[in-house]
């Protein structure tokens, strides 16, 4: 590459990513050509994986660093737009990419709680937190808590909450990357997990936040193209207009028509069929407040050059996230329309056993998962399906109501369902892999940085020199990554369902102390520490109690339930408790020192540069 990296890297961003986008487009075209001239499908899928991991590794190695501020906050030189893209990739996990459209497909309107919950939280980030945390100039979220609330007690509680919400989350990302790699490369899951691990480490180990930032930008571009292309494809085929987000109204009308014909009781657009209105709004609240409290998201806003850029950057982040989330309902509608069409056009609205499409059997027969279920059995062979359906009185074919699709297969399988060529299938796989890797990188840094900066440097050895700090940071990063991979390898179903809890845990433990630390000068150390502990404690108690009960065995009859609130919304108890305890304890303890009040005053004014002067 003749490109000079010697000049200021950030001055050349437009040029560098321009070349990258051009190269990526050329690669996709090459794959399209290759599939036309008859290159085997398997090779094309391998080429996608190899090329994308290769480019991430290249960026990761180019961005290696020996400077502490580059390692922790990318040298605070990331412009708002690029930080927005990186946050988008950081935010959209493997589950968002793979599962969101599927959830909407299955739940219809009620699934939109996730679309709303995972976007609206950015308003809270922009208004209440990001600019002030940026002004403060910390390296990590616990760093802010420790400084504002007088030392290691607050720091430690913050680290515990951070660990509780981030570790299960990263395990699920490694798991997702392993699943995608094993599906697309056709290798064993146990090995594929380590392919995912390698993909994560090449991006983060040498360059910390700096390397992760620039790979996340690259990963965002891959994942958004991979998400939009099939939706645009379906929209163009079905409506003639390549704007799925505007055109799926027609598909919604058709779906309603099909629902009448096929006698489907749960209609796609009618609200509150799965969740009660209360559950729906509780869920939105917990996801939004959780968004504004997740450390791996908040720390992305530490990397902008100024407070002003930090605010704008939240806007760009949400814009880039919005591009995927407002496409997901279109994706779901077009897929559902396609699928229902099979049944509407079949004789007697029953899909004949002889007409079962190949993709149902292919996805249905994947071992270890129930991705496609027909008449209550795993869709492995026509014979098995026919036997099960005939036992239920369906002769010759089966109705729409007997088909069940797993949420997680909708996005990955839609290209093959809609008859798109292999180069699109490979692209979607690469997109899902990028989504899982980028989120895993962000989480890994959040955990490892809290351990190396807060636990090691601030609590254990404040005299450690730069070289030693970076070495410790890198070693901890590898240890955390390997621990997550080993745990993911055991396919822990419990861990995977715990991911949704991360939002409630973060909301209950971190939202109150962060917001009050900026917005209420009177908040005292004791108030914040007890508030954090109480919010976190109540939510954890309810989560564990609701799902497992006091004997820690699920469904043994001793589970608790307060007003019937679902575990995923348990933050609804913790958030108010954290605020109330913080306020009450603060009022009965002596006000913070004049120095601390002065500190908060300075936090509120953008002028004057970083408050926390980091020693290098």
């Amino acid at each position: 590459m003749s490109l000079s990296m010697k000049g200021d890297f950030t001055d050349n961003l437009g040029k560098i990513y321009g070349i990258y986008v051009g190269g990526f487009a050329a690669f996709v075209l090459l794959m399209a050509l290759a599939s036309m001239v008859g290159v085997p499908d398997r090779w094309i899928l391998w080429a996608y994986m190899a090329a994308t991991i290769g480019i991430y590794a290249f960026i990761g190695i180019m961005s290696r660093t020996a400077q502490v501020s580059e390692y922790y906050v990318a040298g605070r030189s990331v412009p708002a737009v690029y930080n927005g893209m990186a946050t988008g990739a950081d935010w959209m996990s493997g589950a968002s990419f793979v599962g969101m459209a599927g959830t909407l497909f299955v739940l219809g309107y009620d699934g939109l709680a996730f679309v709303l919950g995972w976007t609206g939280g950015y308003v809270l980030v922009a208004v209440l937190l990001a600019p002030y945390l940026r002004k403060f100039g910390a390296y990590t979220v616990p760093d802010f808590l420790g400084t504002r609330y007088g030392g290691n007690a607050a720091r430690l509680v913050g680290i515990i909450v951070l660990f509780a919400c981030s570790f299960t989350y990263i395990t699920a990302q490694v798991y997702a990357s392993g699943i995608i790699a094993s599906q697309f490369l056709g290798i064993d899951f146990g090995i594929a997990v380590f392919a995912g691990l390698a993909g994560i480490l090449v991006c983060s180990m040498l360059g910390g936040m700096k390397a992760v930032t620039w790979t996340q930008v690259a990963q965002y571009i891959v994942l958004i193209v991979a998400y939009l292309l099939p939706a645009v494809w379906m929209s163009t085929v079905q409506t003639g207009v390549p704007l799925p987000q505007l055109m799926y109204g027609g598909a919604l009308t058709q779906i309603a028509e099909y629902e009448r014909i096929l006698n489907v009781a749960r209609t796609h657009v009618a609200p509150f069929q799965t969740y009660s209105p209360r559950d729906f709004f509780f869920l939105i609240f917990c996801l939004m407040v959780g968004t504004a409290s997740l450390p791996h998201i908040l720390m992305r806003f530490f990397t902008t050059p100024t407070v002003r850029e930090a605010r704008k950057s939240v806007g760009w982040s949400l814009f880039f996230i919005f591009l995927l989330y407002f496409t997901a309902p279109a994706y779901a509608a077009f897929s559902k329309f396609n699928l229902m069409g099979l049944f509407v056009n079949a004789e007697g609205y029953r899909l004949a056993f002889t007409a079962i499409p190949a993709w149902m059997l292919e996805w249905g027969s994947i071992a270890g998962h129930q991705l496609v279920t027909i008449c209550g059995v795993k869709a492995e062979s026509v014979m098995a399906i026919q036997a099960a359906c005939e036992a239920r009185g369906h002769v010759g074919g089966f109705p729409y109501s007997e088909l069940r699709l797993n949420n997680d297969m909708i996005v990955l399988s839609t290209p093959s369902i809609a008859g798109m060529p292999i180069w699109v299938v490979g692209l979607v796989g690469a997109g899902g892999f990028a989504a899982a890797l980028s989120t895993a990188d962000g989480l890994l840094l959040a955990i490892a940085n809290a351990l190396s900066h807060d636990v090691y440097y601030k609590m254990i050895d404040p005299k450690a020199d730069t070289k030693r700090r970076l070495l410790v940071a890198k070693i901890l990063l590898v240890i955390v990554a390997i621990a997550a991979a080993l745990l993911a390898r055991t396919q822990p179903s419990d861990i995977l369902s715990m991911v949704a809890w991360a939002f409630s845990i973060a909301a209950a433990g971190l939202f109150a102390p962060l917001v009050m630390g900026v917005w209420w000068k009177r908040t005292t150390n004791m108030g914040a520490i007890l508030g954090m502990a109480a919010g976190f404690g109540v939510t954890m108690f309810y989560l564990v109690g609701n799902v497992y009960g006091m004997d820690l065995v699920p469904r043994s009859g001793d589970e608790i339930s307060w007003f019937g609130v679902a575990a995923i919304s348990s933050g609804i108890f913790g958030v108010p408790v954290a605020f109330i305890v913080t306020i009450v304890v603060s009022l009965v303890t002596p006000p913070p020192s004049p120095e601390m009040q002065d500190f908060v005053d300075r936090l509120r004014l953008p002028k004057g540069g970083n408050m926390m002067v980091q020693t290098h």
Partner: protein, 88 residues
């Protein structure tokens, strides 16, 4: 910090900032919660195939959130400049 801002200027700046915060949270609450409580009524209106209640949750509120953050960033910057506390 070289010069310290007179307390009354800092106070006025923060009062305006706090005001903007409450307005922003008000807009946020309307488009996060209240408007979706009317979904059944709104679904009676269908535009280009989209029932309005569904549309608001799938797209309308999201657009409001994006625009709202850019508007907020712009407003807050104006406030900072008005009181001379913006970054140079």
């Amino acid at each position: 910090m070289s010069e310290k801002l007179p307390p009354e200027v800092a106070e006025a700046h923060w009062a305006k900032t706090r005001n903007l915060m409450w307005i922003s949270l008000g807009i946020w609450a309307v488009f996060s919660f209240f408007i979706h409580m009317l979904v059944t009524v709104l679904n009676g209106v269908v535009i280009a195939g989209f029932p309005l209640g569904f549309y608001m949750a799938a797209q309308g509120s999201l657009i409001v959130f994006v625009v709202q953050i850019f508007w907020f960033a712009h407003r807050q910057n104006q406030i900072d400049e008005e009181f001379g506390v913006a970054e140079d």
